[in-house]
Amino acid sequence: MAKILMKGNEAIGEGAVRAGCRYFFGYPITPQSELPHYLAKRMPEVGGLYLQAESEVASINMVFGAAGTGARVMTSSSGPGISLMQEGISYLAGAELPCVIVNMIRGGPGLGNIAPAQSDYFQATKGGGHGDYRLIVLAPASVQEIIDLMQDAFDLSDKYRNPVMLMGDGVLGQMMEPVEIGDQKPFELPEKPWAVTGRLRGKEKRLINSLYIVPENCEVHNFKLEKKYTGIKEAEQRWEEYRTEGAEMVMVAFGTSARICKSVVDRCREEGLPVGLLRPITLWPFPEKGIVRLVDSVKSFLTVEMNMGQMVEDVRLSVNGKRPVHFYGRVGGMIPVARDVYTEVKKIFNGGVA
């Protein structure tokens, strides 16, 4: 199959359509605009719906309504809009509704700016909304991976009846890369016996609900969710290892910062420095297993993020005090420069001296 050039944001849209998503509800925000622009044209071609909502609060609740009928549905936004969605996301998790939410992260806090950032890691992986719940969080690092992960995002959300978040940033959204999209595979949506579709032909009553007024029942519900999350943690951790064989130091980075770290790894290796990269693909569940596998053979870790140090907490939890875990970050829409990361690596190799 010939490769075609595609923008990251458009790849999210095409990936969703190919995964059988037929409903998109959203509210405009930079830097994800190419996605709604793409789907506004593309959805009608496949008999789907693109509907512009009056706010992100409305979008996520439209997603709630559509998801409850069993349809594959998504929304997309960036920082401030995702913040507005948090109550709805908590309801989706509580009612166990599958859907896909895209966050093309921008600089924050507040209005911040529209430049690329990774500062919504905590919000995505540690809750964000109220109550004990988890999102499955995916972090692609190329346009091809965006296409592939959109399919997985919808499949995982249906499999676990859980919202899935795909996180990127303006760099990934805007970059054009050749992708192999292959032929549209015929898709079959999984059976959803829990879906609300009306009691046609005497079907038993179905309810989409997150209210458990009796504390005993709400606790049982939380235990049930926790069991599901434990299963996801066990089965779905994903990561990529790049040149980790024989590495004395392993960088940990996702998405855009992982791309930069790859080039740093190459330069280090050329110079004989044994450095590798672990790139989490699932941010939740965090690929603890990947870290644990490496922890005894490496001397230190360096986490590189476009924030003030968020994922580094999960790296430290996984390393569990066995090795030093360093952090390097740029923030506020600034992107780490390979040369600076390289300097940081050298510094650690030289025992803290630049």
């Binding site: 009056e54 706010s55 609740n61 309504g65 549905v73 009612a95 609300v196 579709t197 009306g198 009691r199």
Partner: protein, 248 residues
């Protein structure tokens, strides 16, 4: 003997949690009777709000959702856009619809979303302990307006049906009241029309139902109905503010 009055099929046979004399129960019965009469029980999907009527998802025997506070119209939009041939309705209080959910109700109406809204105006936030609602009357004492609602501090009560009726997407908007049997009969007619408008695919329909809350008004049930008649009716005129030519 022939039964002349029975529980509508669309309403479950179970104890409701409403206080004695609360008109939420009457409103439920009217909606259920209409669903029965229009024979749309199998297609009906209810969207419950956050408020005293949160458990209506249990009481209506059709499929149902429980929505977050104020967002029932957005949830109904999502449902109806996927399943356009189902009969979808929201059941919302005045705090839910006229305060926190103002954006959702206005824009659902503006888009002409083809579902029906049953809007219970009891001039109070009942579930949370009788605080001022956007519909609370001037001078009305609530737990957060202990000296009576003051225009200077809180503005004036909102007339939602009139507001929504000026939007092109609204096909049917009416205000009814449950303070006596004659008005209950009229209320049912309006609710039926609203559902008929939806079934005919004509657009957004809303019926505002003036309701009593004896508990938070601090009145016995009968006095509460009298208070509604004496105080709410003058400010909230009954009638149809918009109706399509097709359904007269």
């Amino acid at each position: 003997m022939k039964k002349v009055f029975e529980r509508p099929k669309s309403l479950k046979d179970m104890p409701f949690h409403y206080c004695p004399g609360c008109t939420h129960g009457i409103a439920h019965r009217l909606v259920a009777e209409v669903i029965d009469e229009l024979q749309v029980f199998e297609k009906a999907i209810a969207v419950a709000p956050v408020g005293c009527s949160v458990f209506c998802y249990e009481y209506f025997d059709c499929d149902a959702y429980q929505a977050s506070h104020g967002r029932a119209p957005a949830v109904a939009t999502g449902i109806k856009r996927v399943l356009p041939d189902r009969v979808v309705f929201t059941y919302q209080g005045d705090g839910d619809l006229a305060a926190i959910g103002t954006g959702e109700i206005v824009h659902s109406a503006a888009r002409g979303e083809n579902f029906t809204v049953i809007f219970i105006n009891n001039a109070i936030y009942a579930m949370t302990g009788g605080q001022m609602a956007p519909t609370t009357l001037l001078g009305q004492k609530t737990t957060t307006t202990p000296f009576g609602r003051d225009h200077k501090l809180n503005g004036s009560p909102v007339r939602m049906s009139e507001m929504l009726s000026v939007l092109d997407g609204t096909a049917y908007a009416a205000r009814v009241s449950l303070h006596n049997p004659a008005n209950v009969t009229r209320a049912k007619k309006a609710i039926k029309k609203a559902f008929e408008v939806q079934i005919a695919g004509l657009g957004f329909s809303i019926v505002e139902v003036l309701s009593s809350c004896p508990t938070n008004w601090g009145l016995p049930p009968l006095k509460a109905l009298k208070w509604l008649e004496d105080n709410m009716l003058p400010y909230y005129p009954l009638g149809e503010f918009k109706k399509p030519a097709e359904v007269i």
